[in-house]
Each structure stands twice: as C-alpha cells, then as structure tokens.
Amino acid sequence: MNRDTLSSRFSAGRVMLLARNRAYDDAPGLGIGLAIVAGLNLLSILIADRAFMNSEGDPSYAGLIIISGLILSSQAFKGMHGRTGADWILLPATPLEKYAAAFVSYLVVFPLVAAAAAMGLSFVLALVERAAGGPGTGIWHPISLAALRSYGEYAVVAVAFLAGSAAFRKRAFLKTAGLSVAFVLLCSLVVYLGLSLVHEATGSRGFSVSYDSGSLTVLGGDGPGALSVERTLRVLVDVVRLALVPAFSIAFGYLRVAEKEARDEVQ
C-alpha cells in the first residue's frame, strides 16, 4: 500500500488486505471444524469400516459449508459494535472497502477454500477407508449443477446474514435467522391468500388479466393464453427472494456500516 493508493476512493489492494485479515481471523475456526469432521469420520471408519459422510454427492459437506459460511457472515461486522468499534471504524479503509471485503471473504474466498478443504478431507477419508478394508466410496466434489444451485441459495442468504451482522450488535445469527423465517412465513401467507383470492374470484386455477378503459380485470380460465396462478406467484416470490431481498440487504448493510459511529462506549 503506497501513498498514491491512499488517496483513491476505492482500492482493490485495501479490499484484499482486509479480506486477508479476515482469512487469518477465520482460519483457526475452519481448521477446528475440519478437524472435528475428520475425527468423527475416522472414528466411524474405525468402528464401521466406512466414513459416515463420504460419497460423491454427499449433501453433508455442502450443508456444513453453508452453515459455517452463514455463521461467519453473521459475525462479519461484529468488530464495529462494542468496545472495539472506534478501532474498526478508524482503520484506514473506506466503509465501502470494508463492506466489499466481507463480500469477497464470505461469498468467494470462504466457499472456495472450504470446498477445497472438504474435497481434500474427502480424498483422505476415502484413502483411509480403503486402507482399513472398507468400500472406499467416491470423493466429494462441488462441481455439479446441484452444488452451483446450492451456492446461489447460499449467496442470497449470506448477503442477508451480512446485513444482519451490520445491524445487530449481539446474537446476529439467531436474530437474522429469526427474521428470515418470519419473512418466509409472511411470503407464504401472502402466496396462500393470493391463491385463495384468485380461486374465489375466478373459480379457476388459471387467470388472465385485461386492462380496458382504466380498469384492471382478472378473469378465470384455463385456456392456452391464461397464466397459471401458481407459476405467476412463484415468479413473483423468486423476484422478491432472489432480487429484491438481496438488493435490500446489500443497501441496508452498507448503510449501517457507512453510518456506524462509535457511540457504544462511554462518552
């Protein structure tokens, strides 16, 4: 980092430094988690001649990576609350760089590193399994359409957990998870009510919309031109879930970080 970079409004170098520091902070936790998973699987091999979570498409690895990533995301801005708040705020990097570093860390670096570590562990476990006379099942890897879809879902939720971390001083994981569940329930309720209303109004599972002389009319019908109610609502829910919620989370989280002040300590 040189003095010229210091005067720039956004520096990729500073983002990388911040992401590197996050990686240093998170590495011990990842190592401990990996050691626990390895230990349990080795125990399983000793007892039953096979690892309990080792196959090519085993969802446990992806599940663990997702949960770990969400926990880390929910802790991303913990440092800006409480006693260390002033130090966090005054570290010479802009709020945008600090926010971007958290995205790089938990949406890119962590999933890649964790997936590589899980692949490595799976490979070692398969070798041990074979050496122990077990079946030597396949090696887990994240290169599949299902894994990519999981990553997409993870990214959407992780963005919300990052926002939760910026918003909540304590128990950010639980509070964000609670809010997410409440949001899903609310969406389900809206979908259910929407379906009921359309069914009641049209007596049909399909509908068409016409606009004439300033009035909007919903008509029932199952013909080829009619829209399926379920499909329409699903598209609407996806738009909310995959576009509006992440956009809101990103904007809200960034504003919380940018506007944070060190007011938590004694005056």
């Binding site: 003095r3 005067s7 130090d87 010479p92 007011r263 005056q267």
Partner: protein, 296 residues
Amino acid sequence: MVRMESMTFGYGKRPLFEDLDLRLEPGAIHGLLGLNGAGKTSLLKIAAGALRPERGSVEVYGRAPGKREAAALADVCFVPEDPCFPALKPAAWLGRYAAFRPAFDRGRFDELFAELGLDADKPISKFSYGQRKKFALAAAVASGSRLLLLDEPTNGLDIPSKAQLRRVLAAASGPDRVVVVSTHQIRDLELLLDPIIVIDRGRVAFTVTMAELSDRLGAARLPSIEGRPVVYAERDAVGWTALLATAGPGEAAPPDLELVFNAAIAAPDRLAAALRGDALPEYRPEAAALAAGGRA
C-alpha cells in the same frame, strides 16, 4: 491543523456540544481538560471521525474526518483510554494493520517498542493495561499520522512508565503534527502540555498558552487571602493555596495547572479577567464554591 466551527453534537436529545469552535495548530501538544462527562473523549472521537457532528464543520488538515476517506483516516491516530487488541503477537499485529498506513515507520516503532520495554513474544491481548497503552502509544507515534489523539494516556501507568511516556510524547511532537492529550492527570504532563484547552458546558471555556499563564498568573500558599489579587483559592489545614493575578513572571511561583483548571470551572469570569490583565473584584470563596456547584 484541526478546525471545528459551530460544531454541535449530542447523545440522543441531550446536547453535549453546542456551536463549539476550536482551532488546533500544528507543532504543539494540546492539553484537553474538562470535568467528567464534559465530552473530552467525544471531542477526540469527533476529530478522529469515529463520531459525526449533528451540525457545523470539522476539518483535519483540510479533510472532513466524518467522510471516512482512507487518506483522512490514515492521517489520524486515536489512542483510547483502554486500548483493545486481538490475541496477536506484536509482529503479527503490525503485519496485519501497519500496511493500512503507508507512512508507518517500522524503524521508529521498533525503537519505541524497545524503549518502552515491551515483550515481543507475548500476545498483545495478554499485555497488562499499562503495557497495552504503551504499545498503542508506540504504534500511534510511529504511524506517521499528523494528528495524534490520546485519551488519558497516563491513567494506569506506573511512575517510570509516566516518565517514559513524557519522553516519547515530547519526541513525537513535530512542526507538522498536532498532538491532543485529554487528561485528568494534569500534573503528570504539566511540562508538556501547551496550550491548555478547557471544555465546560458544551463549549471551549478557555484556550490558554503556558506563556500567558506564567505572564498573568502565579500560585502561592498564603495564611490569609485578604487584600490579595486572588483569582481562585482553595482552603487547606494551614491556610490557602491561591491562584493570583500577577503583574509579570517571577512575582509568584508558576501556577500549577490543576489550580488553573479548578479556577476555569469555579471562577471562569475572574480567570478571564486576570488573563486580560483587568482588575479583580474582592474574592469571595463561597461565591466560587457556588459557581462550581459541586460539579468538580
């Protein structure tokens, strides 16, 4: 330089500063004094950019710290009263955080680290309170920042450490650097602080240089204060410790800052008059006590 103009700030609905004006020039170690809750720490945090004023402007070397540009943040170093550090050894901490400050002088840091007798093999989080303060001070001085803000730097330091701190602070001052020290322990740093800024009731009550103080004021222990040009006096077992208006240096012992601070709080009008060289009306201790209102 640091400039605050018509700065207003508060917590919730309670205003802490109202239309505060302050100007700090480089090349000096400014002493920031005030009663508990007067807002010394908040003022330092506003100058650093950790708090933002509700109204008015704050500029540090021409930049608004509240915008939190990287260059502005790197030009300021705030050392809190109780610095927190992660469980990292000093070298690891420097590896992670010094990179954000391009002007950080590693050689200077190593010198200070050795001078302050800190342990390189121990995580900073395991340092004692005083050691953490010394480490933070060494990092601040070596940071290359032109504004150093130190909150109660002598609290919790043993006597030799206070002497070390004075040496480090004296050497840290420079023609292009503003150093601000907020303290209750005035006597620990009396010979370093110049000018003195007293904040009271949301405003800067006094800004006075040591030269002005020694020109206009003196301290004396007196059996009686009757007929003397007393600015402020405190009664003790054998008489009075008094701050006197003097006609020039050498007429009385130099005033000690603790007495000046108490005068600024309990008898601000008399102190202002004495500094202007105006004649003082007769001193009434009970009036000063009433003015202080038990706030000190």
